[in-house]
Each structure stands twice: as C-alpha cells, then as structure tokens.
C-alpha cells in the first residue's frame, strides 16, 4: 500500500459520500442508523452475557442446594411425614425388611446374662427369624464382604473380633462375633442390629439397603465359621420366602470383583 493510495482512498470515500448523499440520503442514514443499532444490540448482548448467570444458576434446586427463605431449616425438600409409604416401598415382606417373625410378640421375655465387666447380654431372640429370606449365593457373600468392609470393619475389625480402628481410638468395644451367644443367635437378630442399632451402636438402615444388610449377615455367618471351622454352617434359606423380596435383591449393583478374603465355604 503506497502513501498515495491510503490518502486517495480516504478522500475518495469522503467524495463518494458527498456525491451520493443527495440521492440516497435517506436510505444511507437509515442503513447507518440500523448499523449503529446492530452494534448497540451486540454490545448490550455481550454485556448481558457478562453479567447474567441464569444458565449457570438456573431457577431450580440442585441436590443439596440451600433453599433461600422457603423453608426455615434451609432444606429445599421436605422429609415425608412419618408413616408415608413411597410407591414400590410398601415392604410387605416382613421377614425380608425387619428380620422378624410374622406376628412378633412385643412382650416376649428375653433371657440375658451378665458378662465379666457387668454388661447385660441378651441371649434369646424370640422374635427374630432363623432362616435367610433370600437365597444365599457366593455373590451375596462377596457383596456382604465388600459392604462389611465399608460400614462395619471400622469398629468390628476385619474378622469381627471387635478390634477396629475406631475402637482403638476410644469407641466402646463391641462384643466379638465368635462366642457362643452370637454364634447361636438367629440371622434375624443380626439384621435387626444393623437396621435399628443395638446399645451404643447406631442403626445403619439409612445407609444400607435391606438386601445389602442380608448380604452382610451372610458374610458375618461366614466369618463365624472361618474362625471356628467345627461349627456347622447355618445358611438355611426359607424356601417359602415371599417372592416380593426379589425386586429389592435386584436393586443391588452388580457383584464386585473383590473376591479375596474369608468368603469360602
């Protein structure tokens, strides 16, 4: 580009405008106005994009998002009133969901003993079922091992001796699974302990679905045999078990790949 061309171009442009404007004045000024409008709109839109976040932060509540001012406790959703039954959660199969016999006698007398340190230990469990309400398979026990190692190992220790890490840090020592009292306890009792808690141990129903709780019970039975090989393995399944148990069983994710450890029969 030579110096001349730049200048000529500049002047030429001005001349052209000067020449054309008498004829096309209105059109040009409108076109010019519309250009300015377009530019202005683009500027406003660009500015808009910069300061508005309604796509980042949409008018709905995400999981765990705080509700501003709607509910006094800050939660965005409500806890259903007690006794509400969600669709598909009628849980009619008592044995499967409570580990208890059909018509539990709430006033049944339980036997108990006192251990060396003066704690009362319950030794009879009249209302607990004695048979698994679902088939016990290798997959169930493997699943139980995995779940036990997540939720129970921290207190009960790797083989259930009651020597987990949290106990070493000061939590009350749980009883070992390997004494006659718990070896002879019916499976329903273990299920009940996991579901509702027992003494100083809290219940785990909120974290562990029923099918997984049964898997853990199956694994505890396996541990008991692994520590006392002479014991007969009591894994009898109630063949009349209500078939309503099966949907919940299918809920469980595919069996894990971790098959090491004491899950042998």
């Amino acid at each position: 580009m030579s110096r001349n061309r730049i200048q000529t171009h500049g002047h030429g442009d001005a001349e052209m405008r000067a020449v054309l404007s008498p004829y096309h004045g209105v059109t040009v000024s409108r076109r010019r106005a519309s250009h300015w409008l377009l530019i202005a709109v683009i500027c406003v839109m660009a500015a808009g994009c910069g300061v508005r976040f309604d796509m980042e932060d949409q008018p709905r509540y995400e999981t765990y998002q705080k509700s501003d001012g709607i509910f006094s406790d800050g939660r965005a959703s409500r806890t259903p009133p007690d006794g509400t039954v969600a669709r598909g959660h009628l849980n009619e199969d008592k044995a499967f969901y409570t580990g208890k016999i059909d018509n539990p006698d709430l006033n049944a007398q339980v036997e108990s003993t006192t251990d060396a340190s003066g704690n009362t230990l319950v030794t009879s469990f009249p209302n607990a079922i004695d048979e698994f309400p679902l088939p016990v398979t290798r997959e169930l026990i493997d699943r139980g091992e995995e779940r036990y190692n997540i939720y129970c190992i921290v207190c009960h220790g790797p083989v259930g001796a009651g020597d987990g890490m949290i106990v070493r840090r000061g939590f009350s020592q749980p009883p070992t699974y390997h004494d006659d009292r718990l070896r002879n306890a019916p499976v329903g009792h273990f299920f009940d302990v996991i579901t509702n808690g027992w003494g100083r141990m809290n219940g785990y129903a909120a974290s562990i679905p029923a099918a997984d709780r049964w898997a853990i019970v199956a694994y505890i039975r396996t541990l008991q045999v692994s520590q006392n090989p002479d014991q007969a393995l009591k894994m009898n399944t109630n063949t009349q078990a209500n078939t309503q148990a099966s949907p919940a069983v299918e809920e469980k994710p595919a069996a894990n790949t971790n098959t090491s450890g004491g899950a042998t029969q």
Binding site: M55, Q58, D73, I150, V154, I166, R169, G170, F171, A206
Partner: protein, 219 residues
C-alpha cells in the same frame, strides 16, 4: 490544503496495526490464562467450612471408606453428603466434648443440617453423574486427587469442559480395575497401556465420537 499526514505517519500506521494485532493477541492469551486461573475455576482454593472436618484424619489415619459417608456415589449422580447422624455414629462417644464438634452436636440437637461450603460446583447447564464414572473404572483420585491427604478439600482439577473432554477423548489412559476405585494412591501407569485398553473393552466404554457429543453433558 496542506498535507495533514506527514510521511512518518505511514510508519505510525503500520506500527499501530501491528501493535493492534499483538495487543489483541496478548489480550486473548491473557483472557485464556485468566479463565483457566484458580480465580475463575476455584482450583486448589480451600474454603472455610463450618466444621474443621479432615479427610486426612478420617480416611488417611482411621481408614474409613469413602462410601461410609458418601453412600450414593455408586448409584446416583450425586456422591451424597453424610447426614449429621453419620457423624454421630462415632462422635456420640469419640471427642464427644470437643468444641470443634459443637456445630455437629447442635445440628443433631436442633435437627438442622450442617451447611457445608460446596467445593466442586459445575454450572447447572452441565450434567455430571458419579455412578457411571465409578462403574466404568474411573477412580475418585483421578478427578479429586489424593483426598486422604487433604486436611481441607480443595479442587484438584479445573472442572472445565476441556478437562472433561481430555478424558472423554481417550478414557483408556485413565481407567483402572474396579477393585482400585477407592485407592487414593493409584497411578495411571500402575498397569500397562494394553491392560487399560483391555479394561476399556471389558467395561464396554463407548466410542470417542459418542463421548464427546455435546448432548452427553449438555442435556
């Protein structure tokens, strides 16, 4: 009319044009750096939490599994945050009088949730789901770093789209056996590239085209 522009003006014009391009380039570069900076992405920024909860103590020292607290990470989009009840499973007895835990006890007494500050937060137009990543062999530490070593959680990665895509383009570089998902020390080259390719086949991970399709994350 006298010449308004002197001869030197041409050089000025040229320099101005070159400078314009250079400045625009620099500005763009600065913009890309700025938008990737931790000021924008929140990477490595530690937030003040209502309770000084430490993953190093609970996971590193005490060996509690992630799923003890983040119970839904295998089954739902959200990893799940522990309800106060979960803390009380242990803190009903351990450190039961500690002033550090007063907010936890208050929350339990008053049935009011503890308000944690969110560390990882995607914009709401992007969809993320934990369960599929865990099911297809992407471990927590690939995205969150060595959580078991963090006294306060901070974001290990930018969580920007380019980061998601860097893995969705070639997931075979990052996947691991399912038994190692919760192993915070796992390194990508703990198994060979062939083994990872085999895993990709076993997990039936879909093609690059499908995993980089916009509607997977923007639905």
């Amino acid at each position: 009319m006298a010449q308004f522009f002197q001869k030197g003006a041409n050089n000025i014009a040229r320099i101005t044009m070159i400078m314009g391009v250079v400045v625009a380039g620099l500005a763009f570069f600065a913009y890309t750096q700025f938008s990737r900076s931790s000021y924008i992405t929140g990477q490595y920024v530690e937030l003040q939490q209502p309770v000084q909860f430490s993953h190093r103590h609970h996971v590193g020292d005490d060996g509690i599994d992630c799923r003890y607290c983040h119970t839904t990470v295998e089954t739902t989009a959200s990893a799940g945050m522990p309800p106060t009840q979960t803390c009380m499973n242990c803190h009903s007895e351990i450190w039961a009088d500690s002033p550090y835990l007063e907010p936890v006890r208050a929350s339990f007494r008053e049935n009011k949730p503890i308000e944690w500050e969110r560390v990882h937060d995607l914009p709401e137009y992007a969809y993320f789901n934990h369960s599929i990543h865990v099911a297809k062999g992407v471990g927590c530490s690939t995205c969150h770093g060595e959580i078991d070593n963090m006294a306060a959680v901070s974001q290990e990665n930018t969580l920007q789209m380019e980061w998601c895509l860097s893995c969705h383009r070639e997931p075979e570089k990052f996947i691991r056996p399912k038994s190692e998902i919760y192993n915070m020390q796992w390194q990508d080259n703990d198994i060979t590239a062939e083994e990872r390719l085999k895993l990709k086949e076993d997990y039936r991970i879909r093609s690059r085209d499908m995993l980089t399709s916009c509607s997977i994350c923007h639905r």
